[in-house]
Point group: C2
Chain length 175, copies 2
């Protein structure tokens, strides 16, 4: 099973924090790889590498200038292409079918998604049909795809771990 997230059209000036959140959500909720297309932004790659180093492996991260090449590559590898969009079919009506797919490329748009993406995707999926957030849509998609089992995963080789606590902060430093 391989779950890859493709972030479309990253713009350094405007999207830095949102794209960083997308990367960290992909990592925390069980995706194997994140690919960023659009403008190259080394700082985001560095952030993700640093989080992997501190909090454990983790997620692969890659920058690719051309999203079309990514789409073509994963189509050839026979991944199921899923585009998250507020225009899509309701997730609650499709997730059972999508769970049968072992290898998926989740496409997460920016402000303007090329119409080609809607055609290339096997599923255009809406997490509600209201305007909200690609970060939230990705999070809920992954949580539903994994049926919340991702919440129990431990990350290998972590230097820092949290001892979950109802009342405060407890960090464990692993040496």
């Amino acid at each position: 099973m391989e779950i890859v997230v493709l972030r479309l059209g990253h713009r350094i000036a405007r999207d830095k924090r949102i794209t960083t959140h997308i990367c960290l959500v992909a990592r925390a909720l069980g995706a194997n790889k994140i690919i960023i297309s659009g403008e190259k932004d080394q700082s985001i790659l560095n952030t993700v590498i640093k989080v992997n180093n501190n909090w454990g492996e983790g997620i692969d991260i890659e920058y690719r200038k051309r999203w079309k090449e990514v789409i073509n590559e994963y189509k050839k590898k026979q991944f199921c292409l899923i585009h998250l969009t507020m225009y899509g079919e309701k997730i609650q009506n499709t997730i059972q079918e999508i769970r049968k797919k072992e290898n998926i490329l989740i496409i997460v748009g920016g402000e303007k998604v090329p119409s080609e993406i809607y055609k290339e995707a096997e599923f255009n999926i809406g997490v509600t049909n209201q305007p909200h957030s690609e970060v939230a849509a990705l999070a809920i998609f992954l949580d539903k795809y994994f049926d919340s089992t991702e919440l129990e995963v431990n990350f290998k080789d972590a230097k820092l771990m949290i001892k979950p606590d109802l009342f405060g902060k407890k960090i464990i430093h692993v040496s």
Copy 2:
């Protein structure tokens, strides 16, 4: 039942998009009200009002300079205070208990959360104990709190609606 989200420590220069996403996620996933503390940012209030106007009611939005006053007010109203934090107890171990609470104030932090918040909260809750995104944490919390029933809600008095579609964009203009 009343679900209120309190966003702590908004900074105009840095948090505009993340806070906007938090507001829209709160609206789309069934919260009744969002309160923003920190720097006053009229543009975010305007965005939310515009989304309510176009896509239907909707969520109340309010700016409050002092988060302490908000906390005190909702404690007096006997709301259950829940703080979303990566240090918190796992959501999957606590959500059953939290679902019994009818009126809740969900506190969503920024970069530096005052230690007082951890003490004031009845529950400090982690959506994973990994670093990721307050937008994602709020989304998953609301989805679990409502047990995904929020995905089926229709918004009243919408001028724009989407006809969910697997393959493209279909917007309905209500006149």
